[in-house]
């Protein structure tokens, strides 16, 4: 059989072979055509799938509060200028487009930008601001008419980025400034509107150029090919990749119009790096290099971005200013030679410096502690993937001015404390939360002594013993029983010795290691006496104290042991701020929040986080507690605050020091701000700091920087004031020695009078006061 076959083959070898080859060629050709069709079809599917849907995973961007400008606002001219510089407003001699300002002595004129807020769009306006020593004294429009208020747009303060860390702000073609499209086409692809994806002329020209220069310097890729390469392919330079690129470019042009391709290119292109974050698209690049929205850019700025399109690392205006300036001018030359701009305009543009902002207009995460708070709130409503890809716009209560003041105080205060107390440099850590009183809005957060350090967020995550910071809850529990306790009630500050429940004895001691006999309730809190407070806590009942702490807003479990009264419980600074905000808000609890509203990528309002309140304690009882917290500041452990703050400022607050001085706390408030400060060591080691000598000092400086106003200490219904004798807790007369004007819940004031000690002389002023006493 085998031989026969061989014979047959050898008989007609030529005819057989040629037939077989032909068939083989046909098969191969057929298969190639099929493979080609399959490949093109597959590429077609790829092109359409990616191009028709959401083209990018868009980062969510987070914005600060919008600064409201109005007559009477305590904002200096310097502070206003700082904010508008942050917003990328440009100082000019004559205002002619939004995003500009001019300073004229004590006046600032602004041509504001249009911005769409939750409650409607605010059009661009020309306003003039006048200042006096208290702040803004007048806001008027260009006709000189007084405006009640004007909102500036919020500041971009960070983002939640896709896994690949691409940051971009997509822009529509119609929002682009003049010359941008023209210059891109002039520089990158002159035949863009003529070719169908690939340009043979372009390739020819590039080849010629390469032959002349002896190396590969020109690519000859069209804008469509560049987009395909960036969008779908890797960076490798192989013929196969080039071929696929060409096919995809043609396919893209078959399915989509020139405008859509150009828009995608403008938003896709890589234009720089900021740490791990890639700056993509002209919209984000404009923010990053100029701090301006793209629509505001002038010719020289547009030419700079176009110049960078060639290679953003090589033409980096911050790292290689000279080289980049040259290429920018080359772009302007090209525009001029193609008669897209006239000679005069081109000359003016070439004369401009690079004109980039001194610092990058966008930073990846300049306020990590606040952003962390925002992200946690967002995760309750959105999944991580959506936050990283849906391009949400998140508006918050973050106040960049307050954050700056907070950080300034920290930058100076912590090293100063280390120096004063001979603590090894760098050992102290801190956290602080600043809340606007009565709004529940967190305006600034420090999670570390290093601003901008995105590590452990102590403001939210450092659960530390709160010490005496908890004591107001004990006194509030007592004051809620007006039949049993008032501010003048005498409590025993003698030694405490009780069973701790685990077989040991609990023997808390006063900080000064002394007993103070019987003391009135307000003084026990004011002086932070441990023995009196421990006794009071047990008298009112530890479960009741725990209930009060929960009522103030605490949500995690509490150890219901006697030591709870002295703060044997761990809390984060944020949790402590929640409790004190309820006290500052007259007993009304609000969830502390950093987010105001969330919009979709195309500016549709998605969700609002409304302000809500819940009455938890009677304002009358809280009024009494606020009295005692003022005693802390005037006479007690908080009095050092007045070394920094004006004595005319009414403040309420409380120190806290944990066992062995491992934690130094201060929580307190005035009329506008509440701040909680924690200082300690990350290894929970001991420090030579109490709440008073540590956190209080920093707190005072923060409050001074913030311009804290006086606590609005208005007398609520159901409260009466009586002259009281602190030694006996009985009534007395104003001119009797040590007489104290104390608030009582109506019906709970003592009825009997103590004998008057040495009587003071009554002056004319006192008589007048008697007549006009409220």
């Amino acid at each position: 059989m085998a031989k026969k076959k061989q014979r047959r083959r050898s008989r007609k070898p030529t005819r057989k072979t040629s037939g077989f080859t032909r068939r083989l060629v046909k098969v191969i050709l057929g298969l190639s055509v099929v493979a080609g069709i399959v490949l093109v079809a597959a590429l077609d599917v790829t092109v359409r799938a990616k191009f028709s849907g959401a083209k990018w995973s868009l980062p969510s961007h987070v914005y600060s509060r919008a600064l409201e400008l109005y007559e009477g606002l305590a904002l200096s001219q310097a502070q206003l200028l700082w904010e508008i510089e942050q917003l990328g407003y440009r100082r000019v001699a004559t205002l002619n487009s939004p995003g500009q300002y001019r300073v004229n002595g004590g006046q600032v004129e602004i041509l504001s930008r249009t911005f769409r807020f939750w409650d409607g769009e605010q059009p661009s306006q020309r306003i003039r601001l006048l200042f006096d020593r208290n702040g803004i004294s007048r806001v008027e429009n260009s006709q000189g008419r007084t405006l009640p208020l004007l909102r500036l747009e919020p500041l971009l303060i960070g983002g939640i980025y896709p896994e690949h860390q691409e940051d971009r702000e997509p822009v529509r073609l119609e929002a682009l400034p003049p010359y941008l499209v023209e210059s891109l086409i002039a520089v990158e692809d002159r035949e863009f509107y003529q070719h169908r994806g690939i340009s043979l002329r372009g390739i020819g020209r590039a080849m010629l150029g390469n032959i002349r220069s002896g190396q590969i310097t020109q690519g000859g890729s069209t804008i469509t090919q560049q987009l395909v390469k960036n969008f779908f392919l890797s960076d490798e330079r192989t013929l196969l990749r080039k071929g696929i690129e060409a096919i995809m470019a043609i396919l893209l042009e078959v399915h989509y119009g020139k405008a859509e391709i150009l828009e995608a290119y403008i938003n896709e292109i890589y234009l720089g790096q900021s740490g791990k974050r890639g700056i993509h698209g002209f919209g984000m690049a404009s923010r990053h290099y100029f701090r301006q929205p793209i629509g505001e850019l002038d010719l020289h700025q547009v030419a700079l971005l176009t110049a960078m399109a060639k290679g953003a690392s090589y033409y980096d205006p911050r790292r290689h200013p000279q080289r980049t300036l040259q290429r920018r001018n080359l772009v302007i030359d090209l525009l001029e030679s193609q008669q897209l701009v006239d000679g005069v305009t081109a000359k003016q543009a070439r004369a401009q410096p690079l004109d980039i902002s001194p610092h990058p207009g966008t930073r990846t995460n300049p306020f990590p502690a606040f952003l962390d708070l925002v992200k946690r709130e967002l995760r309750e409503d959105y999944n991580e993937a959506d936050l990283r890809s849906e391009g949400l716009r998140i508006f918050t209560s973050f106040d960049p001015q307050a954050q700056k003041k907070l950080q300034d105080a920290v930058d100076r205060g912590i090293p100063a404390l280390e120096q004063q107390k001979s603590i090894h440099k760098g050992d102290l850590q801190m956290a602080a939360v600043v809340v606007r009183v009565g709004t529940g809005q967190v305006v600034a957060v420090a999670g570390s002594r290093q601003s901008g350090f995105p590590g452990f967020n102590r403001a939210l995550d450092a659960y530390r013993q709160v010490g005496s910071t908890i004591k107001p809850a004990v006194f509030l529990t007592a004051l809620q029983q007006p039949g049993n306790y008032n501010l003048a009630t005498l409590i025993d500050d003698g030694p405490v010795n009780v069973a701790a429940g685990d077989g040991t004895r609990w023997q808390p001691r006063n900080f000064d290691r002394r007993d103070h006999g019987t003391v009135p309730l307000y003084a026990a809190l004011g002086q932070s006496y441990n023995q009196a407070t421990a006794r009071l806590g047990m008298a009112v009942g530890i479960p009741q104290v725990a209930k009060t702490i929960r009522g103030l807003g605490h949500q995690r479990p509490l150890p219901e042991v006697p030591a709870l009264s002295l703060g044997a419980v761990t809390m984060s600074p944020f949790e402590v701020a929640t409790l004190y905000h309820t006290i500052a808000s007259d007993g009304f609890y609000s969830h502390l929040a950093g987010i105001e509203s969330v919009y979709t990528a195309n500016d549709t309002p998605l969700k609002r986080y409304p302000y809500e309140v819940e009455a938890r304690f009677s304002p009358a009882t809280i009024h009494l507690l606020q009295y005692a917290l003022q005693v802390v500041m005037r006479e007690g452990t908080g009095r050092a605050a007045y070394n920094v703050l004006s004595a005319s400022t009414v403040l309420a607050g409380k120190t806290g020091t944990s066992n062995d001085q491992r934690d130094s706390w201060f929580a307190g408030f005035g009329g506008n701000y509440l701040a909680v400060v924690w200082i300690g060591r990350d290894d929970n080691g001991e420090m030579p700091l109490t709440g008073s000598s540590g956190a209080l000092r920093l707190w005072s400086q923060i409050m001074a920087n913030l311009g804290v106003t006086s606590l609005a200490y208005a007398q609520p219904e159901g409260v009466v004031y009586r002259w009281t004798d602190p030694a006996t807790g009985l009534l007395t007369e104003e001119l009797c020695e040590n007489a104290r004007y104390l608030p009582f819940i109506s019906g709970s004031a003592p009825e009997h009078y103590a004998p008057c000690g040495q009587r003071k002389e009554k002056g004319v002023a006192d008589w007048l006061k008697d007549i006009f006493r409220w």
């Binding site: 007559e71 606002l73 409650d119 208020l149 409503d381 009565g438 809500e612 009414v650 006061k769 006009f772």
Partner: protein, 201 residues
């Protein structure tokens, strides 16, 4: 997506039946004010009394925290442009020593004009039944002056019109907390609360 805070709210439908009350409240707010010259007179006479509340030097004695008297008996904002601030304390008592410490008289919010303008705008939205916008604008006002009872009246009225009775009640209480006895706004808040109670029962 569920609203986050709504566990606080008992959602009761039928906001329409409160409409007459709301309209009445509104009318009160806009019409039932004292004539301007009477208000000015009242304010001026109160100002004349203010020096009596200023701190007076005393020899010895314990610190005195004096509650702030309700300065403006009228519920709404006082006429803009009038001097409302109390005389400033000149002498600062040394810290820590037993000195007289009298609270400063509550200053009128510097944002009063801005707040009044926002409230006008918000009531406009309210009248057109754009309640979410009314609330958003009221919150803007609330951030400028968290102690304005009128802001809480607006919030309470808007939530009531949305059928969010519990929130309306909380905001009405918050507003009561800031409204002086006998003021118009207090009466309006009280009326709103009175309407709520029978419904809740």
């Amino acid at each position: 997506m569920a609203e986050r805070y709504f566990p606080l709210v008992s959602l009761v439908s039928g906001a329409g039946c409160y409409q007459p009350l709301i309209i009445k409240l509104e009318r009160d707010l806009t019409d039932h004010r004292l004539p301007c010259f009477l208000r000015s007179l009242l304010v001026l006479s109160l100002l004349a009394l203010l020096p009596a509340c200023a701190p007076m030097p005393q020899s010895g004695g314990a610190p005195v925290y004096r509650p702030q008297p309700p300065l403006i008996p009228e519920g709404s904002h006082p006429p803009v442009g009038e001097e409302q601030r109390a005389p400033r304390e000149d002498r600062k008592p040394p810290v820590g020593s037993p000195e007289v410490i009298a609270p400063s008289v509550q200053a009128i919010s510097p944002a009063q004009r801005a707040v009044a303008s926002l409230l006008d705008e918000a009531w406009g939205h309210y009248r057109h039944n754009e309640l979410d916008r009314a609330i958003a604008v009221a919150e803007r006002a609330q951030r400028l002056d968290a102690r304005s009872p009128e802001v809480y009246l607006l919030l309470a009225s808007s939530y009531l019109a949305q059928g969010k009775q519990s929130l309306a009640e909380q905001f009405a209480h918050r507003g009561m907390n800031f409204s002086p006895a006998g003021s118009v706004v207090r009466r309006q808040l009280q009326q709103l609360l009175d309407q709520l109670v029978p419904v809740r029962r």
